[in-house]
């Protein structure tokens, strides 16, 4: 113990030690604070929209309920959905700043609604967010390099290496102590703010522990890189330069090349194709023979075959039938689009096995549920909700049951 205290004293006496540790602590704390504030803002937005949404539904209910036309109710009522951030989201804000986390849908064709974007300032999103995952991925290795690049070489350069080798009871444990002390203190400075943040946000202990372990593993990996470079027995200066180049390659250059490779290997343009095609399909519905439309609809929804008949030029039954068919017409394109996105994501995960920076980001964003997969999962839930909305309105529309003001409250509710 006293040996360790002695090492600590020696270490802290170095010019770079305390500033580096303090900087790590400040950066980590700042990123946790920024993350928590952003997640609090997102919770606020979700809370803020509830009364507005209720009031909006109320006004529709007031006039559409008077007429009692279910078609109008389904047409004019927007239903709110939202994607509540996970407790861990403060660690890695991920794609939540560029993808909507609140979205309203109607019982009309969904593909024209689900790809809507959020309003956000693209120039501010461009550099990426300052979150804890960023501090861990980019800045922590830099500070570790600052602390470890001259571990052996400084003793050599000061002419103490031989003396140390002779005096130490065990050389191995001496260096192990020194390395563990430097890397451990840095990890501590990094993790303490995170633990506080995790407690504040109510992150389950097991998840927080997992993130802690991942962070420790990442720093361990960089420690090994530092040790490997120091085996070349270069000067402190050359060590610093070599390590900084390694950092540059691992955190900036190689991920950039990987993105280029993945995005050009897996082009994704079905998004626009499917919205163009879906619009054609929906609007062709106006010109197709109504009987054919209803027949096609009944293949999907045979339960309404006794109630599908109607008279006249326009009927909501027919309108909602071709809305649904418009979505069905692009099923394969939707699947292809999704497959393209998932393939990009899968290749990113594979890249993560080779590139520690990418692997770390993938793991943390998965735990925080802020990655592309989380965005797709939210869309899946919207699809399920939309299906529930249709199931809710169809009985009114097909049985021609009046839709009264009280019926509005019976509509399916989004569970966040």
């Amino acid at each position: 113990m006293s040996l360790l205290r002695q090492e600590l004293r020696l270490f802290l006496r170095q010019r770079i030690a305390l500033p580096a540790l303090l900087l790590m602590l400040v950066l980590s704390a700042a990123s946790v604070a920024v993350g928590l504030a952003e997640i609090a803002r997102q919770h606020d937005v979700i809370a803020r929209i509830q009364p507005k949404q209720a009031q909006d539904e109320g006004t529709v209910a007031a006039w559409a309920g008077k007429e009692g036309d279910a078609g109008n109710a389904a047409y004019y009522t927007f239903h709110a959905t939202w994607d509540t951030p996970s407790p861990m989201a403060f660690v890695a804000l991920g794609q939540r700043d560029v993808a909507p986390f609140v979205l309203r849908v109607r019982a009309l064709a969904l593909e024209g609604q689900i790809h809507e974007n959020e309003t956000y300032n693209a120039e501010l999103a461009l550099p990426g967010r300052f979150d804890w995952a960023f501090v861990l991925t980019y800045l922590a290795p830099l500070l570790l390099i600052a602390l470890l690049h001259d571990l052996f070489s400084s003793e050599r350069e000061a002419g103490r290496a031989v003396l140390l080798a002779v005096m130490a009871r065990s050389q191995r444990s001496l260096w192990l102590r020194r390395i563990a002390l430097r890397a451990g203190l840095l990890l501590l400075a990094l993790l303490v703010p995170f633990v506080v943040g995790a407690a504040v946000s109510g992150t389950p202990g097991s998840q927080a522990a997992l993130v802690g372990a991942i962070a420790a593993a990442y720093l361990l990996l960089w420690t090994l890189v530092c040790l490997a470079v120091s085996r070349w027995r270069q000067s402190s200066l050359a060590n610093a330069a070599s390590l900084a180049s390694a950092w540059l390659a691992i955190t900036l250059v190689l991920p950039g090349l990987a993105l280029l490779a993945i995005n050009s290997a897996i082009p994704v343009q079905q998004g626009i194709e499917l919205t163009l095609a879906q619009r054609e399909a929906v609007h062709a519905g106006w010109d197709k023979p109504k009987a054919a439309t209803m027949q096609a609809f009944l293949r999907d929804h045979p339960e309404w075959k006794d109630k599908a008949a109607f008279a006249g030029g326009f009927h909501w039954k027919w309108y909602y039938a071709f809305q649904h068919l418009g979505d069905r017409a692009v099923d394969s394109k939707v699947a292809a689009y999704r497959a393209g996105l998932e393939a990009r994501d899968a290749w990113t995960r594979r890249t993560g096995w080779i590139l520690p920076s990418v692997g770390l980001q993938v793991a943390i964003h998965r735990l925080a549920q802020t990655d592309l997969a989380a965005q797709i999962a939210y869309q899946d839930r919207i699809r399920a909700f939309h299906a529930a909305l249709r199931r809710f309105y169809y009985p009114y529309i097909f049985s021609e049951t009046p839709f009264r003001e009280a019926d509005f409250a019976k509509a399916p509710r989004w569970r966040g």
Binding site: K52, A122, L126, G128, G271
Partner: protein, 481 residues
């Protein structure tokens, strides 16, 4: 002069001999080349794809069968934002802002399908473009190559030797700066070549390309000055390296991420959902066409009847439903305009604040100027949104006018009961051909330069700061010798 050239020449010789410097240079040049080729290919491909989609959407619109004009209002139109040629140099926010908007009556949809939402989180590591290579990696290579330029001479004692030869500190620093500046010029070369290609082969504006080149030159010149000055001032080569790496990490990696957070906190934005609800509410307040007793629409009806000198809408020479649709669209479009103007002014304030951090980070200053000059900044996107809205309003009102003039009120009212009326309200599809196609008008250069002015001014500030630091370093060296 010859001493200066000799110092520079000597430094180049050293750099050429150093394996690390050669590797760093080669790496960066290779990356620049990869970035330039892929970026140009990606730009061409995206632009061609958008043009193809636009042509498809135009053809589909023109090819619609005979329809009730209001059906066409809902059928709507798609417009696509073309990519300026200089986007191949700096794509800016293009990957973030969607490039396709669906235009329809009564609604204002968002621009969708930006690359970032369609990419994995790798996209947030930064895209390898010529701009990124020079903004982020360029300075680092200069740091690696130049941090020891004077510090090493001092450590090995050759600095005193130079003094003995009667070389002034200023000449020494100028010579070193010339040498590192030569390396910076080499780093710039692939970017300049790609800019040249864009001007010659892809009709990029020459003056825009020249200004971009000037901005990047100023940026790297600042870093040359910083590297040489740090090498002269620092205690030893390692301290110089650490200080420069710290400066780079702070100004190039950290500040650009912190600035947006501060700007976002200072000026929050409303979500689309809230704007949507607010517009609905305003609409109901101004005039609710569902409400038969609504005051606004009652007044509108009275005014219309008075204008035509008739007593009932049936007697109007035009289809009152069409007029009603036009009035409704006028009100919604006005609200869309107000809310969009509010959002865009908030975003402008956020952008101005974030660019202000260019006082602390030359990378922020350069990024702002670069995007503006390339036409890939938020202004460029806002321009597209504005033009799309103008176009949306024009086609929707054109179609509403057709409803008023080419469809009779009687037919319009009985189209769902009388098949003959239903046939008559479907007007000739030649009308769809008459709707002009959308053409995006890019910002004229003067406007882009104006948008780039704050960034360029900040770069100038950094350049001057660099020169002053060099002079300060020269005085320090002169004292120390």
């Amino acid at each position: 002069m010859s001493a200066l050239r000799l110092i520079a020449w000597n430094e180049w010789r050293l750099i050429r001999r150093s394996a690390v410097a050669r590797a760093a240079l080669f790496m960066l040049l290779a990356l620049s080349a990869i970035a330039a080729f892929t970026s140009i290919a990606h730009r061409d491909e995206s632009d061609a794809l958008r043009a193809r989609f636009q042509a498809q959407a135009d053809a589909e619109f023109d090819g619609q069968p005979a329809r009730h004009p209001h059906r066409m209002v809902h059928y709507g139109h798609f417009v696509f934002r073309p990519l300026p040629a200089l986007a191949a140099f700096d794509p800016g926010v293009d990957a973030f802002t969607g490039s396709a908007i669906f235009l329809e009556g009564h609604r204002q949809n968002s621009a969708n399908f930006g690359d970032v939402r369609q990419s994995s989180l790798l996209a947030r590591f930064g895209q390898l473009t010529p701009a990124f290579v020079l903004q982020v990696l360029g300075p680092l290579v200069l740091v690696f190559i130049g941090f020891g330029t004077i510090a090493r001479e001092r450590e090995s004692g050759t600095l005193r030797f130079l003094k003995a030869q009667g070389i002034a500190a200023r000449t020494l620093l100028a010579g070193k700066a010339l040498a590192i500046g030569g390396i910076a010029a080499l780093l710039l070369l692939p970017a300049l070549l790609s800019l040249g290609w864009l001007v010659l082969a892809e009709q990029a504006p020459l003056s825009g390309a020249l200004l971009l080149a000037a901005c990047y030159t100023a940026y790297l010149a600042f870093w040359v000055a910083a590297v040489v000055a740090a090498s002269a001032i620092a205690r030893d080569a390692r301290s110089a390296l650490m200080a420069l790496l710290g400066l780079w990490a702070l100004t190039t990696i950290l500040m650009p991420r912190i600035a947006p957070d501060i700007a976002l906190a200072a000026t929050p934005l409303q979500t689309r959902l809230e704007t949507d609800i607010a517009i609905h509410e305003d609409l109901r307040r101004i005039g609710d066409s569902h409400n038969p007793d609504d005051r606004h629409f009652a007044a509108f009806k009275a005014a219309t009847l008075a204008r035509y000198g008739v007593t009932s809408v049936e007697d109007l020479p035009v289809n009152y439903r069409g007029l009603l649709a036009m009035e409704g669209e006028r009100i919604t479009a006005q609200l869309f305009g107000e809310y969009a103007a509010d959002q865009s002014s908030r975003q402008r304030r956020q952008g101005a604040l974030a660019t202000g951090f260019g006082l602390l980070s030359p990378a922020i200053a350069l990024r702002s100027a670069s995007m503006a000059l390339a036409g890939t900044d938020l202004d460029g996107h806002q321009r597209f949104l504005d033009q799309a809205e103008v176009y949306r309003y024009a086609i929707v009102q054109g179609l509403n006018r057709l409803q008023a003039e080419a469809v009779t009120y009687a037919d319009d009212g009985s189209r769902n009961k009388d098949p003959e009326a239903a046939r008559r309200v479907r007007i000739d599809p030649r009308h769809w051909h008459d709707v002009p196609d959308f053409t995006y008008r890019a910002a004229p250069l003067a406007e882009r330069v104006q948008a780039a002015a704050p960034g360029m001014a900040l770069l100038l500030f950094w350049l001057i700061a660099g020169v002053f630091t060099l002079r300060f370093a020269a005085r320090r060296i002169a004292e120390a010798l």
